[in-house]
Amino acid sequence: MKFDVIIIGGGLSGLTAGIALAEAGKDVALVSAGQSTLHFGGGSLDLLGYDEQGNEVKNPLDAISNLNGNHPYKKIEDVSRLAGVAKKVLERAGIATAGEANHNHWRVSPIGALLPTWLSLEGMATVEDAGTMPWKRVALVNVVNFLDFPTKFLAAGLRNRGVEVDVKAFTLPELEQLRKSPTEMRSTNIAKVIETNNLIAKIANEVNDIAGGYDMVLLPAVLGIGSSETSRHLLKAIKVPANYVATLPPSVPGVRMQTLLRKRFTALGGTFFTGDQVIEGNFEGDTLKGVKTAKLDGTTLEADNFVLATGSFMSRGLVADYNHVYEPALGVDVEDLGLDRNTWSKIDVTESQPYMEMGVKTDSCLRCQRAGNTIANLYAAGSILGGHNSIKRLDSAGVDMLTALQAVNNILK
C-alpha cells in the first residue's frame, strides 16, 4: 500500500504529525500499536516547567534558549512559531486550550502539586502564579466511593499553599450503580454514565447544595470523553467558580484529546492502522522504502517519507534487555550508555535517571541513523528522542508536538 507519508506511533506526537501532513494535502497513514500515553495525561500540555538547575520556569521561550545542546528543542528552528502552530492544530481538532509559550501558568496535579505548564484544556483548574494563590476557601467535591481522586493528597497540597480546603462528596442513584462491579468505578465509566443518563442538572444541584461560601469548587475530571460539551455545561450550571482536576488514569481529558485528534486525522482522509505494529523496515542504501507490520502479512506499507514517533520505554518505542537498549521497529541507532547496566540508573529513584535521557540518534534535521548512516527520509519525533528528562524538565508534550511539527516542516521543504 502506497502513501505519501507513514507515521509510526499513534500518540500525541504521531497524531500531531499526521494531522499537520494531512492538512498540507498529503496522503498519510498512521500505524499504532495500541492506545497511547495520552490516556494518562493531566489535561494540560507542558512546554518547559523546570530548567536544568531545577528552577521553575516562568518564560519557557527564554529558558529554552538556555538549554544544553542535546535537548530536542535545539533542533527546532522557531520554537515560538511552532508553539503557536501546535495550539492551532489542537484548536482545529476541537481542543480549546488557554496559555502562551512565553508565559507559564500553573496546573493542579492529581496528587495536589502545582506544576508549571504551557496549555491547559478549558475548564481545568489552573492559577496564574503559584506564589499568590487566588483561592481562599476551596471545596474539593468528589463522587462518593470514587478512589482515583486522592482528595487527602489534593487537600494537603492546597493547604500547604495557605488555602482553606474542605473535602466533600456527592452521589446519585445512577452513579451508585457503578459500585456493582467494585473495580469498575473508573473516571471514564463515570463519564459514560453521566452522559448516557444526562445527569448534568442533577449533579449541578448536588454541587450547588455544597458550594455555598466557597470561592472555588474543584471537581474530578470525569466528564466529556468525546467532546468538552458536557464538562463545559456543568461548570456553567454551578453557581460559584468551579474547575476540574485530572484524576488518576484513565484520564478523561486525555482520552478526549486522543479521541478528537484521531477523529480529526480520519476526517482529513488519514488512514489509521489500529492495533498493529511495525516490525521491519526495507532499507535501500540510505532510504527507507517501506515497512512491514505484524498483521499485514504480504503487504508492505510504502511511502516517500516516514516519521518514527513510537515513544520511549513505556510505549515500547525503546526496549532494554540485559545488555543494551534498542529501537525494535526499524533497528535505528540509539544513543546508548554502554554495556554496564549499572550506569543506566541511580539507586535513589527521585534522582535524575540516566536511562530517561536515552533515545534514538538524529541529525540536525531529526533524521534517524542506521549503522552510523543517516536515513534520508526517516524522521524521529516525540519521546523517542533522547537528550532530555521529561519528568525533571516537564517538557513532554512540547517535545512531542514541536518535534512532530518540525519533522513535518522538514518533510514539506
Binding site: 462491579s181 469498575e184 488512514t271 492495533g275
Partner: protein, 417 residues
C-alpha cells in the same frame, strides 16, 4: 543465562505483560453500558491471577463479554485480554447451553432445516405471536427478526448456475461462503463470483464446508466448534494443494479460522492460516501488484459510510476494504468512528442481552443517522442485521458494492490483455 531467561519468559496470551494501565477499560463496549460486567482488566488479566490459584474465582458474568477484542486492539502491551476471558470461559464455565443457545449456535443445522421451508418460515418468523413465543419460551428477543432464509441455498445455485463455467479460467480461488451466504443471503455469494470471474479467476467451493464455529464458541460449545474447524482445515488443505487461495466474504469467519482456531480451540492451522484471506484484501493486493484491474460504471453514484466491524479491526485489515472502496470513482466515502454495533453474532438475539446490545450500538446508530449515507458498508453480516434493524439504512458488503459499481464488460477486457 540471564538473556535466555528474559527472552523466553513469555506467558500464555502475554498475560504477564499487563502493566495495569487500565486503557482497555476505556474501550470495553459492555462495561460502558452495564455495571454488572467487571470489565476487561478485571475479567481478563487481573482475574486470571486469581483463577490460576483456584477456579472458584471464575465468575459467570464473563459470559457478558462480546468477544469483540476491542480491549486487545487498545492494549499498548499486546496482552490478549479477550483470549484470556474466552479461554477462562471454556476452561471453567459450568453453564450448560440451553436449547435456545444450541439453536442459535448451530447456524448450519438450523439453516439446512429452514431453507426448504423459507416461503413459510420467513413470514411466520415475522409474526407477532410467533415472536412472542420465541421471546417467552425460547428467550429470543421479540424485537429481533431472524434474517430471511433463502429458498435456494447458495450452494445449490452455485452447483447449477456457476460451477460449470469455472473451468474456463486459468486462475482459481476457493470460496468459503459461510452460513450467512448459504442460507440467508446468496446474493453476496453471487456478487463474489461475478467480481472474481470478471477479473479472470474461477471460483470453487471447498470439498466440505462447515460453519466456522464462531457462534458455537460464544455459546459454550467449543468441542463441536473444534470438530467443525478440523473439517474446514482439512478441506482447505486440499484446496491449497491445488494452488488455491481460500477467500471469504465475512470478516468474522476469517478471524475465527485464522486466529481463534489456534488461540482458543487448539486447532493446528499454521499451514493453512496464511492462505485464508478476505476477498477485499485479495483484490486489493492483486490490483496493487498490477495483476488485475477493476473498471467501474460511469453512472454509479453512492454515498457510502464504512463501519469497522470488531473482528475486522482486530485483524488490522480495515484499510484493505476502505482503500478498495475508495478506488470507485462515483463513491463518496465517509469513515465512521470505529465502535461496536452491539450485536456480536448471536449475543444480541438473546432476550437478556437485547437492551445492552442496543445501548452499545447507540453511538454508531446516531453517527449513521447524522451522516445519512445511501448505504453503510461493512465486512460483517451480523453488523448488517443490527445496523439495518436499528437505523433503517441498507448495509452492503464491500464486495456487493464493487459488484454493483463494476463495468463487467470493460473489466473482462482489461483483464484479458
Amino acid at each position: 543465562m540471564a538473556t535466555e531467561t528474559q527472552t523466553q519468559n513469555v506467558s500464555v496470551n502475554n498475560f504477564e505483560q499487563c502493566l495495569k494501565c487500565s486503557i482497555c477499560t476505556v474501550y470495553c463496549p459492555v462495561s460502558a453500558v452495564t455495571p454488572l460486567y467487571p470489565g476487561p482488566k478485571q475479567a481478563g488479566p487481573d482475574g486470571e491471577r486469581y483463577r490460576l490459584k483456584d477456579k472458584v474465582f471464575f465468575d459467570e458474568s464473563l459470559k457478558m463479554c462480546l468477544n469483540c477484542k476491542r480491549c486487545e486492539v487498545a492494549c499498548p502491551n499486546d496482552v490478549h485480554i479477550g483470549d484470556i476471558i474466552q479461554a477462562a470461559r471454556i476452561k471453567y464455565s459450568t453453564h450448560k447451553p440451553s436449547l435456545r443457545d444450541m439453536m442459535l449456535a448451530n447456524t448450519d443445522l438450523v439453516g439446512t432445516m429452514a431453507s426448504p421451508f423459507a416461503p413459510i418460515a420467513n413470514p411466520v418468523l415475522k409474526l407477532k405471536p410467533m415472536k412472542a413465543v420465541l421471546h417467552s419460551v425460547m428467550g429470543i428477543d421479540k424485537h429481533r427478526t431472524f434474517p430471511d432464509y433463502s429458498n435456494r441455498k447458495f450452494e445449490s445455485w452455485f452447483k447449477k448456475e456457476a460451477a460449470p463455467n469455472q473451468d474456463q479460467y486459468s486462475k482459481h480461488v476457493s470460496y468459503f461462503h459461510g452460513c450467512y451466504v448459504n442460507y440467508n443471503y446468496p446474493q453476496l455469494g453471487k456478487d463474489m463470483v461475478k467480481v472474481m470471474n470478471a477479473v479472470g479467476y474461477g471460483v470453487h467451493l471447498l470439498e466440505k464446508e462447515k460453519c466456522c464455529g464462531v457462534a458455537l464458541i460464544a455459546n459454550g460449545m467449543s468441542k463441536q466448534a473444534k470438530r467443525q474447524g478440523e473439517v474446514n482445515m482439512s478441506s482447505m488443505r486440499k484446496a491449497i494443494v491445488e494452488g488455491h487461495v481460500v477467500l471469504t466474504s465475512s470478516s468474522t469467519c476469517t478471524f475465527t479460522m485464522r486466529d481463534e482456531y489456534d488461540h482458543l480451540l487448539g486447532i493446528d492451522n499454521h499451514d493453512v492460516r496464511d492462505s485464508i484471506s478476505l476477498a477485499t484484501r485479495f483484490l486489493f493486493q492483486l490490483i496493487e501488484k498490477g495483476e488485475i484491474k477493476l473498471e467501474f460504471r460511469k453512472d454509479f453514484h453512492k454515498r457510502v459510510a464504512y463501519h469497522s466491524a470488531c473482528h475486522m479491526e482486530r485483524m488490522g485489515w480495515v484499510p484493505y476494504s476502505t482503500r478498495l472502496l475508495r478506488m470507485i470513482p462515483g463513491l463518496e466515502f465517509v469513515m465512521l468512528e470505529s465502535q461496536c454495533c452491539g450485536i456480536s453474532g448471536t449475543y444480541g438475539f438473546k432476550k437478556e442481552n437485547y437492551e445492552r446490545s442496543q445501548a452499545i450500538g447507540k453511538g454508531l446508530f446516531d453517527q449513521i443517522n447524522d451522516v445519512a449515507p445511501d448505504c453503510v458498508a461493512t465486512d460483517c453480516e451480523t453488523c448488517k442485521w443490527q445496523i439495518e434493524m436499528s437505523t433503517g439504512v441498507p448495509v452492503m458488503n464491500p464486495i456487493s458494492i464493487i459488484a454493483e459499481a463494476l463495468d463487467v464488460e470493460a473489466t473482462i477486457i482489461s483483464n484479458k490483455k
